[in-house]
Subunit: 708 residues, 2 copies
Amino acid sequence: MRSPVKHSTHRLEPLLNPASIAIVGASNNAARIGGMPIAHLTKFGYQGRIYPINPKYEQVFGLRCHADIESLPEAPDLVVLAIAAADVLAMLRRCAARGVRAVIVYAAGFAEEGARGAALQAELEAYVATTDLVVAGPNAMGFANLNTQAHTNFASVFNTAPMQPGRGSVSLLTQSGNVCAAVYAIARRLGVDFSHFINTGNEACVDFAQYLEYLAQDDATDVALGYIEELRDGERFMQAAERFSRQGKLLVLYKAGETDKGSEAVRSHTSALAGDQAVYQAAFRQLDIIQSNDFVQMAQLAHLAGYRHKSAGRRVAIITISGALGAILADKFIALGLDVPTLPQALQDTLRSGIPDYGMVSNPVDVTGNVVNDPGFVRTAMEALAQSDAVDAVVIYAPGYMLDRMADDLCAVSQKFARLFVAIDTGAARTREQLRAGGVPVFEDIGVAVSALSPFLLWQERRRNNRWLDLRGEAPPERTALPPSLDEYSTKQLLVRHGMPAGAERVATTADEAAAAAEAIGYPVVLKVLSADIAHKTEAGGVRLRLQDADEVRKAFTEVLASVRRHAPQARIDGALVCRMESGVAELIVGATRDPVFGMTLTVGLGGVLTELYKDVSHRVLPVDASMAREMLGELKAFPLLTGYRGRAPGDVDAACAAIAGFSRAVLALQEQADEVEVNPLLVRERGHGVCMLDALVLPAKASPHNH
Amino acid sequence: MRSPVKHSTHRLEPLLNPASIAIVGASNNAARIGGMPIAHLTKFGYQGRIYPINPKYEQVFGLRCHADIESLPEAPDLVVLAIAAADVLAMLRRCAARGVRAVIVYAAGFAEEGARGAALQAELEAYVATTDLVVAGPNAMGFANLNTQAHTNFASVFNTAPMQPGRGSVSLLTQSGNVCAAVYAIARRLGVDFSHFINTGNEACVDFAQYLEYLAQDDATDVALGYIEELRDGERFMQAAERFSRQGKLLVLYKAGETDKGSEAVRSHTSALAGDQAVYQAAFRQLDIIQSNDFVQMAQLAHLAGYRHKSAGRRVAIITISGALGAILADKFIALGLDVPTLPQALQDTLRSGIPDYGMVSNPVDVTGNVVNDPGFVRTAMEALAQSDAVDAVVIYAPGYMLDRMADDLCAVSQKFARLFVAIDTGAARTREQLRAGGVPVFEDIGVAVSALSPFLLWQERRRNNRWLDLRGEAPPERTALPPSLDEYSTKQLLVRHGMPAGAERVATTADEAAAAAEAIGYPVVLKVLSADIAHKTEAGGVRLRLQDADEVRKAFTEVLASVRRHAPQARIDGALVCRMESGVAELIVGATRDPVFGMTLTVGLGGVLTELYKDVSHRVLPVDASMAREMLGELKAFPLLTGYRGRAPGDVDAACAAIAGFSRAVLALQEQADEVEVNPLLVRERGHGVCMLDALVLPAKASPHNH
């Protein structure tokens, strides 16, 4: 018996959990788009009311067929339009007049098909905005609610993939109908049971983020598997993802467009502008989203999510009956970011009591094939592992009959303790279902097991303590106005106010002022032209280094200004900046740019051409505090250069992190006024001696008065 | 009907394809190691003679049981010893006396188990060396010949994995019995049919390379899937791998020990010393071996190898019914090193004739869902793709019934043309077997398809033109003796003779000679102490840069020698080297080290600390010619620095490649005399201006007279 359907008050409820469905353009042919949804609805036992609509028929699939929506006995929750693009708008007007709540538009021929289609879609959007209608598509394959069998799709995958036996709690949400069908087919083969099957089509009126928001509040959804080509509403998306995280629901997303060729194909497919992959990756991690680019991995993650109430984390104990398989598992886990810590001596001693000399007890643990003959020891070992502080999860590799002999003990220990135990059986154990029911997920391939377990265990650990979601919830810093001139000095002073340090430096408007400034600061000094109009000071002859006395400074002032005037006669020159000549351990680049989807995002790297070639940078969506800054620096492959590599002096990493946090506050305080802020380089001095900006710039927003 | 068994004359033939098998320690219990091989032999229908041996029984599994090997009616090809370690040596002597040809030793308790076991194994090895016996193991799970059902194993996987219906041509060769069983189980689930099941145990007398050599000459083996922890005989391994390549057989190897933790586990497992992963990777590629670290991928590669006679290569045309899936496939192929080239205009025009406007024709090609209704067009499109010069292979994604509608055309085109066509069906196409029989491999998952296809297509391309195997076959350069002193000058001169250029430089033994040398070379010059005993010249005060005239040179000579004498009073000083002060575009490090498995291997990278942190280096087993050197440089992420990055001058890449080839000749000419040779840095000047060594060193072999 299925439990009665509950309805939420969410705006998309009639679309995704309708009590009544009308199909305009109904057909008796199950192979046609007007016939397939009715075939599915009747075949799979939808309990709501079904209204085929087509003046040509009396009956469709044994159901009474109505001539038009006006003659229906009620205003249906949802109308499916299996009609041509040209007829859609007129029909939407009739739906609105009839009091329909939601509509799905199958028709292609809109924004994905050139200028004429785009115009038609714009007209549709404009009309719908004047109504209360919820309109899905156009160019969509339709939906399925697998718990109510509300099929509003023409997806032939439901004819071939085996229907799940009961309720499911995994929802599919994709920006491609074919991907929706492909993931569904693969995941069904692997035994995943679904709640919603959603593909968004052109998203004229309802976008990906709104569906995600629905799934976040949907009691029938514990896990969402998504496929994204483009996000249209980044802020709404982030809010929905945050809600997933706060409720302990798992969100797994595939982001298309890794390479230019892929992006190109996606663009011509949905006219979407793909964002920056690295920023998506950072944002997903900050939002506790697992990023996947493998359909099998997605399905396995959905399976694992069923065990997310068990305690787990990155430190894995590996128990095998084979040293080789233990080594293989350890390698794979470590390569994917997990730890395989050496076990504490007391735990090793406990294990050694039942493991022969040629077995291993450090981790991976090789219990050897003999151990399964000693069930008392298996129980003792598992209980010890379940209680050790040194690990977060236990993975057991034992093929076929060996796993069978351990199964009772494994289930008992799993039920007694909170810790996650996972089994891998490349053989044919008869106890697989017993183990799964007993709280122990079972995998039948090593590669698949590791590829799903690694991100799942990291997710389990990260979501327990997601600083960023809290940081995001805090009040933003007070707005700071952009200074009237965006020269180097004003820009640095703006950043200094938020905690990003500058070196000793003064503005001089005459040669004598420059010399006086140098005397005050102390030699040697650097003299740089001060002008918001000169982007490349060195190329313009606007920089002099290592000036040793007042005469050199005066001379440099005069020469620099002359050179810059020659080089850029139109530039407004505000004088020169006299700075202490600084030296340090390393130079960082710290920059923020406005991502079209996620807003201001921070990039940190070590300066220089090799960093660029090696793409050795770390990204985060703002805000970033000092501890997140530390994490970012730690992700750089060149990070050892900051901590005393090969006898070099270690840099002041703490000061760098504090400065980056100040930079984050400054950028957020500028709000919409700047599109880009950059400190390059940020000089890192020896530990204990702080950091300082050597140069900084702000690019004002395109719409700002600075950009005229 | 099975075809009659053919026997080769190879030394391992009685081990792997025996005509008669005796089992010492025979048991009636199929769960025991003395019972399981007999159970398998009788159950699976081995046609040779089976001799159970155990004085306790009259009959075992319905077969007459003999008291001892002496009372057998013939000397069996192969004896399986299911007895304890302590009894093995005595039994081997009896086997030798009886005229037995081969023996498998199951027993553990040898080198894998401490010093006592190692001594026992050494005794066994020493004895076997005095006989003609071929002895496998000890500590081995035994073999199976799946074409004759000669089971000499105690692997329970044969009780659970479904037995293949006919002959197979895929051999398994692993250094772990459990890995052998795990790969077998997974691959059988995926439909792979096997010839040999081999695990090598401790390799006391027969090592991995010797089994590989057997499989190379074995008519029943087209593909070998291997798992390696350690190679004991690198040269023999390379010869066997080369034979695989020359015969067009596919060799897929999993090399354990990617991370330290994994290596540690492997070491305690088989007391193996893991080699350098990067060198293994290079050697495998040079030997046309596909490296895999995934059992499913290995199985799928074995499946694909059945289609290796089709023409294929790295340039892939992707045909889908979905823009999104096309983009996903393109991304994945490109990420794994394949090309998805834009199709030529004429081919695009042909495709456009049958594809609607909203489809794509450039590649990936989105034929749209409608196209399957136009079978004439499918045929036209496939024939055009089969004949285009712009691609090497065609991958079709079409789920379920869509693929079914294309199947006849696909088979027809595949049979008419040499080119490889591959289908991916995430649905449930009924024509999968028809397609496979028609020459079109079918995958049911996108990730799995890409992960197997990418290395397979690259292998197909590379093996057509493997320069290195030819190079390896050429006569080595004539032996060059190490000079009596390995100071910088002598070392450079040694390398110069083989084509590695040095700058203008002269040896001076007095200050006046130094000045005269500088006058001859031209200023500025560098002066460096000349001594084979000073490893770090700069630290010893032994280097002076930018000397501008004769006086500076004289002074520098005196000071440098004084400083070095103070710093290293024991060092023998041969004078100073006066060199032209050189400058260039970039600096390379070019080094050769002796790998314990593969011999002298070359490493090339850009100099500097970041290269080290980013591990941006390329490796090859020697010899390396100029074109291989070019390939190595091209693999460096920092390569753009050599070709004019961001307005820099391009370097003389051709000269660098010629110099690296000269370096390779020099190293080979030294033969066993040196363990390490390094040029660091090799200065690369602007294009057209060549390269030159700035420093070079040779580490003589440990056994050489230079190392006393």
